[in-house]
Each structure stands twice: as structure tokens, then as C-alpha cells.
Amino acid sequence: MSQRRFTAELERVNGRLSALVRAYRETRLGKYGLLAPTLAFVAVVMVFPTAILVSYSFNPYDAGTVGVGVTLAHYVRAFTTPLYQQTLFRTVWIAAAVTAIDFVLGFPLAYAAVRKGGWVGKLIVIATLAPLTIDLVVRSFGWFILLNGSGVINSTLVTLGVVSAEDAPKLLFNEVGIVIGLAHVMLPFMVFPIINVLHTIPHELEEAARSLGANRATTFTRVLVPLALPGISAGVLITFVVSLASYVTPALLGGGVRVIPVVITETFTSTSNWPFASALSMILVAVALVVIVGYQRVLSRLDGVGGV
């Protein structure tokens, strides 16, 4: 084969290969092939275990093991036992309270970070992010020092004469402790989506509203919130759902006051009642899904600006 014929042949093969790759990319396999590793990973670490838990949750509990057969007993027990009802209710309201507190704290922070700019803005971003670099357990022990009966906060209050030692507020091993700890952990998840969306809202719009006679509150509700809704809704949703499912902070700061994730873990580990723990897990997942779907519905009904 001469040099020239070889080159021509090479080009022909090369052209056919490129055409083949192009054609392959157009096929279904080609399009989804690139997604395959991610899909496989999600299937292995999420869908598969969840499916197992779903099936366990309908199996009877049989002397420390997962029994054979189908039963709704675990769900009935979860919904009819006052202890579990209360725990479920507590879990949801703690998540709601954390979300509300973080919105009230987070929006002004995000607003200041965006509008002040300069070193103030940078400081806010760094101060909001910094706690993420410290492990959850370490952070919770930090809260121990601050919140416990004779901790920094209470001893300061007593020293200042604000409260007497007997009347010092109980800030740890109850709902208050969980809410404080979670609000701290979740704050960046509220602040950053709002920072992102506020960057897209020109400051002039607020000035225009003000010059048209709107006070700060009206400017906030009629101009800022509607335009910031995509960021606010993302922040609210992430904060609520992650708070709902969080374990470490409530386990450490809640003491005897439990939330569902803590109960689930204890049921799995100490009583080995896997079917009941599975049912509780599914209930928690269902609550989160209901909230997400309902929330999206409400947002899409709101005029003009789209949801998440």
C-alpha cells in the first residue's frame, strides 16, 4: 500500500468512526449512557436501600428478626401510640421553627451581604460559611458549653442579675436546645440561595419603590420578596427538609427529648426492631415528600414568579 493510499484509507476510517460516534450520541443509549454512572450510584445508595426498608416496613417483627408475611401493624402502632404521635409532631414543628428562624435571621444577613458589599459583605459570607468547616459533633459540644445549666449563657445571665440561679432558663436537652443548634447548622443553607437571587435584583428597584411612596416594609413585601422568591423557596425547602431528617444535632442537644430520626436510630440499634424502624423512616420520607409537593403547588400558584 502506498503512502497516499494509506492516508486516504485512514481518513476514510476516521470519517466513518466520527459518523458512528455522532450517530451513537443520537441514540437513546448514547444520550443516557453518560448518565449511567450517576444513575447506578443513586440506585445502589438510595433506591435499593429504600426499597428494602419499604419491604421491611410491611414485614412482621419476629423475636428480634424480620419476620415473613405482610402486616400494617407498624404503621398503625406509629400513628396510634401517643409517644410516636408526639414525636412526629415535635419533629415537624422543630423543622418549621428552625426554618422560620433561619428565614428571619438569614434574609437580613443575605441582604446586607449583597447590598453592603465590600468587606462587610465578605465578612458575612465567611462568618456564615465558617461553621461548616467544623464537625457537627464538635459544634454541638460547643453549644453544650454555652447552653448547659451552668454554662456561659446562664452564668452570664445570673452574674448580671437578669435571672436567679434557680430560674435560669433551661436551654439544653430540650426542644430549645435542638432548635438553637439546628438553626445554627442550617443558616448557610438559607442564606446562600437568597444571596444568589438578591444579586440579580437591581438596587434601583427598591429605590424606585421608595420614591413611589413605599416604606421599607412595603418595599420588602411587594418588591423584594416576589423577586427573591426562587431563592427564598429554595432556602426554605432545603432548611425544612434537612432539619426534618437531621440526627446528630438533635441527638446531642435534645437529650431525653427525641425527634423521629433519633427514635429511628435507637429502634434500629437498641431494640433491633427493623420493621418498625423502617415504617418510621417511611413516614418521615412521606412527610418530607408531602411538604415538598405541597410547597411546589403553592409556589406555582403564586402569580408571576416561578417556584424552585
Binding site: 437591581p202 434601583e204 428597584l205 429605590e207 424606585a208 419603590a209 421608595r210 420614591s211 413611589l212 411612596g213 413605599a214 416604606n215 412595603t218 411587594r222 418588591v223 416576589p226 423577586l227 402569580d303 408571576g304 414568579v305
Partner: protein, 363 residues
């Protein structure tokens, strides 16, 4: 909505200063705007014109001095309690509201009943030539249309003063010229006192009743467009507005009391009462005041300078010559009256102009 012009002072700045850190943006500015008047704040960027305007809107608080609106001191009054309507360079229309809702926003704040508000919205939209646009999404409108919506929104609340911050700055030249005329017609029709910020001198000359020329946070001159152009108070104003030829030499008073400028190419008489004591100050003449003619036909009553045409720009209705006068360039604009009398590059010419147009740029 009609208001009589010139019946009193609508806006008054008294020794207003604004500093940001160690930068003085506005430096002891004082001026007043008559009822119904359109005052243009003209200056290069960084001259303090926008800050001056924003202090009246209440977006910035003066470091010192007072600002009055219709006789009331509003220096510390919050924005939403001031009777001002603002038009921004980038329109600042609320993107989540229709055109009608944008206009309605201010009316709702004033508590105007819904049916009356609806009427007013149609009225102001018709005024800016956008009748029937109330249900449109502002994002679908052109820049010129958006700015007209913004203007309608600002005048719908019938403010004491209208504040416009480079309102035509984001538009292209043709649209700017058209809107310039429309905005001034609306302003004059309503007789609404207007403070108008621009860096565009042509725009200011066209639309303003008076122009305040700003530089370095101070007002250099505040006068009618014609006066600012013809009798600039400072060298900065002479240079910033219009094209200018500055002439240098020795300034002194002649024996007969005339002020003369001794140049390397002859003596020029200056339209000034007295020469500055220190002999400083420059003399200037606008390009269109000069004629370039054949050296043989000089008249004795005018100022003249000899030179030769260095470069020529044919601009259709006029011809611009760059004339070399003893190594110094002088710009001459002549209207194209007779194509046959246009000089060629290299021609020897005599520049002539009246003493009256030979002015001292004091300051």
C-alpha cells in the same frame, strides 16, 4: 395637573456637601429651582451631579447643608415621605408587574381608589403615547417604551418635582433625540419642576430652561443654555460645552482702555472690561464664530489671524477646517453656503471674527 411656571421656588439647596469616606462628592452646592422649571445638572462622570440629585430623592443624606422642597426642609425626611418622582437610567420597572401595575404602585401607596387609579393610569399612559399598554409585560417593550412607562409611573403620583437621572443614557441616538422632544413637551405641558441629570451637553442645551454645570462636586456656572454656551463663567465650562479654540498670549490693557491679547502672530482685541491683574486667563473663540477667507479681503474691524489649512472635514451642511496658525491648531466651522468657496488643504487663509466673540475664560 397644570401648574403655573415661575410662581415660586420649588427646590432649594443651601451649602450642601456630601462626602463618602474621604471623597467629597458634592462640595458646598447652593442653587434654587423655580416652579415649573427644568434644571439640567450637567457635568462629566464623577462631577457630583448624580449624588446631588439622589440627595433630593432621599437616597443619600447630605453630610451638611439643607435641601428644601416647596419651602419645607426635607434634608432628613425619608424617601417615601418626599413628594418626588424618580426616573432612572435603566428604567427600574418592576419586572413582576404589568405596565399598569407598575403605574398603579405609587397610586396604591397614596391610597387612590381603584377606579380613579384605573382612570389615571390610562391618562398617563396616553400622555406618554402608550395608551392600551396597561396589560403588557414591561420586559416585552423596547427601551424607549420602557422609559416612557417609567416616566408615566413617576408623573402618575403627581409629584412636586420630577427627578431624572440620565433618563436617555441607555438609548440609541435616534431614540434619544425623539424622546428628548417628547419628554420636554410632557414636562412643559404638566408644568412640573424637573431636575435632570445628564453628561450629554447637547441634551442639556436642548431641553433645559437652565443648566447647572458641575465639576469636582461644585457648580461652575448656573445659567440659561445660551448664556452657558456664549458666556461661560469658567474655563472648564468653555471647554466642556461645545468646541472651543483657546488662544494664548500676553493679556493687558491698552492705552485706550481696550483689553488686548498679544500673540506671536499679532494683537487680538478681547471682549472684556478689564484685564486680569496678573495677566493670566485664557481667551477663547468658538469654531463657528470664525471665518476663513482669502488673505486679500481682510477687514480691519475684526480680529484676524493668518494661517494655512492643515486638514479639512467636509460634513455636508458645514465644513470644518483645522488651520495651522504659527504652529498652533485652530478649528473653524463654516456653513456650506457656496461649494465653490471651500478652501483646499494648504491654502493660505486669514481667520477673522468679531471682537464680541473673543471672550475671556475667567476662572
Amino acid at each position: 395637573m397644570q401648574r403655573a411656571a415661575g410662581t415660586g421656588v420649588a427646590i432649594e439647596y443651601e451649602d450642601v456637601t456630601k462626602t463618602f469616606g474621604d471623597v467629597t462628592a458634592v462640595d458646598g452646592v447652593s442653587f434654587a429651582v423655580e416652579d415649573g422649571e427644568l434644571l439640567a445638572l450637567l457635568g462629566p462622570s464623577g462631577s457630583g451631579k448624580t449624588t446631588t440629585l439622589r440627595m433630593l430623592a432621599g437616597f443619600e443624606t447630605p453630610t451638611s447643608g439643607t435641601i428644601s422642597l416647596a419651602g419645607d426642609d426635607v434634608t432628613r425626611v425619608p424617601t417615601h415621605k418626599r413628594d418626588t418622582g424618580m426616573v432612572f437610567q435603566d428604567y427600574a420597572l418592576f419586572p413582576h408587574m404589568t405596565v399598569g401595575e407598575n403605574v398603579a404602585f405609587g397610586l396604591e401607596r397614596q391610597g387612590v381608589p381603584a377606579d380613579e387609579a384605573r382612570e389615571r393610569i390610562e391618562e398617563v399612559l396616553a400622555l406618554v403615547d402608550l395608551a392600551g399598554f396597561a396589560d403588557r409585560d414591561p420586559k416585552t417593550l423596547s427601551g424607549g417604551q420602557q422609559q416612557r412607562v417609567a416616566t408615566a409611573r413617576a408623573i402618575a403620583i403627581e409629584p412636586e418635582v420630577l427627578l431624572m437621572d440620565e433618563p436617555l443614557g441607555a438609548l440609541d441616538k435616534r431614540l434619544r433625540d425623539q424622546l428628548e422632544v417628547e419628554l420636554t413637551e410632557i414636562q412643559a405641558d404638566l408644568g412640573i419642576t424637573t431636575l435632570y441629570v445628564t453628561h450629554n451637553q447637547e441634551e442639556a442645551l436642548t431641553i433645559a430652561d437652565r443648566i447647572a454645570v458641575m465639576n469636582d462636586g461644585r457648580i461652575e456656572q448656573i445659567a440659561s443654555p445660551m448664556e452657558v454656551y456664549e458666556e461661560p463663567a469658567t474655563e472648564f465650562v468653555a471647554d466642556f460645552i461645545g468646541d472651543t479654540n483657546f488662544l494664548e498670549g500676553d493679556l493687558h490693557e491698552a492705552a485706550d482702555g481696550r483689553v488686548v491679547l498679544e500673540t506671536t502672530t499679532g494683537e487680538l482685541e478681547v471682549n472684556a472690561g478689564t484685564a486680569p491683574a496678573d495677566g493670566g486667563g485664557r481667551v477663547f473663540v468658538r469654531p463657528e464664530k470664525l471665518t476663513a477667507h482669502d488673505p486679500a479681503t481682510t477687514t480691519a474691524t475684526q480680529n484676524t489671524l493668518p494661517g494655512h489649512v492643515d486638514r479639512r472635514l467636509f460634513l455636508g451642511s458645514k465644513v470644518r477646517y483645522f488651520v495651522d496658525v504659527d504652529g498652533r491648531q485652530v478649528v473653524v466651522d463654516e456653513s456650506n453656503r457656496h461649494a465653490s468657496s471651500i478652501h483646499d488643504v494648504g491654502d493660505e487663509v486669514t481667520l477673522a471674527w468679531s471682537v464680541q466673540d473673543t471672550r475671556l475664560a475667567s476662572g
